[in-house]
Symmetry: C2
Subunit: 89 residues, 2 copies
């Protein structure tokens, strides 16, 4: 089972890396960027019987290790959510 | 226009951070994880007339700054791709 986790700073938290990238892009002429935030994507391959079990286990991993609940939010996306779009590669 | 960029190490490249996280998860009892890779997610808000223009500009940003073409692959996902699923927050 393939699961994708997105870990991002919570909305109120200053994203220093994002601000630096946005400034660098502006310096290259990409002045149309109005906001930019950088986070982590963690792609987990795990052996579970069902998609629901995989989602539950990955949620537990997020709470215990992958995300810092003080500063970060996380989103879990299953491979079948992803396959529904054409955007996966 | 809201665009999401996923930047990941190319398949053949050793992902040290991913290996460390996988090992830490195994230590916490998550032994069902068979593979784990860590990458970056960059969420860009930009002002363009059309979604196609936004995708083209973000592609240019990836080639010039956001991704290292030697080591990394990138995927561009538009907000409307994301809205089609229920997984966005």
């Amino acid at each position: 089972m393939r699961v994708r986790v997105l870990v991002r700073l919570k909305p109120g938290i200053l994203d220093v890396q994002g601000a630096a990238v946005q400034k660098a892009l502006a310096g290259l002429g990409f002045t149309e960027v109005t906001d930019l935030r950088v986070g982590k994507v963690i792609e987990v391959e795990l052996q579970t019987a069902t998609a629901d079990a995989a989602r539950a286990r990955v949620g537990e991993m997020c709470r215990q290790l992958l995300a810092n609940p003080v500063l970060e939010d996380y989103t879990i996306e299953m491979a079948d959510d992803l396959a529904r779009r054409g955007a996966v590669r």
